[in-house]
Point group: C2
Chain length 250, copies 2
């Protein structure tokens, strides 16, 4: 935890907040704070700054927040993700929040097992807890927006443009030889929407559906990666490409 | 498991091998193979091809291997990694093998807790098992070479050139603004050695030590990532930069 993230509702008008859960535990046991110590703090979807520790007790830690600036811009990448195995999805939430994504559209696909959708790893409360963990790791306050979609076709045909308007769309698949940088070459100022398939891959029908709706193909080579490894690797390559373009590179 | 990986010693001269462990379980329960079915198979540090299922029993699965080609080239990236928390390292082995690394030099550093080295996640048997899992995921047969180093200074001053000769050296740290692509610009045909610090970061002394031994600095931005997320993201950016250079790009 590199930043203590609190909900706006937890904090009094004077900026004083008492945390009692895992955050208090971490402050006491790992950071070993005492009165007068300063730690980084942020408000979910709000500003970030520092906080002074006012009091530490067995019940919790009382801090006084001082905002240093407005919330950071939303990360320029959204993710359309075919639901991985629950065990993998469980680990992935915090990592996605740490890497930085604006939106996550979790979707069904032909090679996704239906029972994956009936697990607690898609419960809003569970997701929020894991996303907060990732934001606290990465020192960000911007909560990724998450929606769950049971039909890929409906999502791609009817919903995606409303959720992620005007994005540069890229579908990742090991079958594509074109690297991510090339797929983003004509992006201009648009945000990116990256589609990552299930562990068995997109089917030809799904690849065709995505292509017909503007998703350009991109790949990372022939190695078959687990969904969480693939997501992080692809997001890292998209971020590198955006930074290079932003710096006036190729 | 996208490829069944066997040790050369497990196989008879006729290419027949009986697997009995988790591989047999996966073949029976997930892939549901029967006699005559074909699966991808490879030999550790040897060739890859397919295998025909000869027999399936409660004890194991008998397969006959047909080699389709020599072993793939060693991945062009080596990793010098400050030992992360054991829980993180445990998960990372398979992902490193899946991403593709030639060598992993696990090292101590100032912000690494000594007790991390006394855990089973650095046992050669445990490491090999996890690496095989990653190779089976990515369809590779090249086992990464792993060594453990208790003194960073000795490693960097005396050992690294023997272990990873003539590499283009890059040290990753959130304090560096220069992206990975730029740090690899003068690489030529050299392999890459990527140094990734502990979760608390490299100290100024360590950054200076690395700089004095030819490690150019590179970063991915200001977000602080968990060691496993950082490794995968950095390896992905190195691989993208190598591919771009190989394709005659910038």
């Amino acid at each position: 935890m590199n930043l203590v993230l609190v909900e706006a509702g937890e904090m009094g008008a004077d900026g004083v907040v008492e945390v009692r859960d895992g955050r208090a535990e971490h402050l006491r046991r790992v950071l070993r704070v005492g009165p007068g110590h300063r730690v980084r703090m942020g408000i979910v979807d709000g500003g970030a700054g520092t906080a002074e520790v006012v009091a530490v007790s067995a019940d919790g830690v009382v801090l006084r927040f001082e905002c240093a600036g407005p919330h950071p811009p939303r990360p320029p990448v959204d993710l359309l993700l075919a639901m991985p195995r629950p065990k993998v999805m469980k680990r992935l939430w915090a990592q996605l929040a740490a890497m930085g994504v604006g939106r996550v559209l979790v979707t069904n696909a032909e090679k996704v097992e239906r029972m994956y959708f009936d697990t607690h790893v898609l419960d809003p409360g569970f997701i929020r807890e894991r996303l907060i963990e990732g934001l606290q790791q990465a020192c960000d306050t911007r909560m990724p927006l998450v929606t769950v979609h049971r039909r890929l076709k409906v999502l791609v045909e009817d919903e995606v443009e409303g959720l992620c308007p005007g994005t540069c769309r890229v579908a990742a698949d090991p079958s594509f030889a074109r690297p991510v940088t090339a797929a983003l070459a004509g992006r201009g100022d648009r945000r990116v929407l990256l589609a990552v398939g299930p562990e068995g891959g997109w089917t030809p029908y799904e690849l065709d559906l995505l292509a017909r709706h503007g998703f350009g193909g991109a790949g990372m080579g022939t190695r078959i990666l687990r969904a969480d490894t693939a997501c992080i690797a692809l997001l890292a390559q998209v971020q590198a490409a955006l930074k290079e373009a932003g710096a006036g590179g190729s």
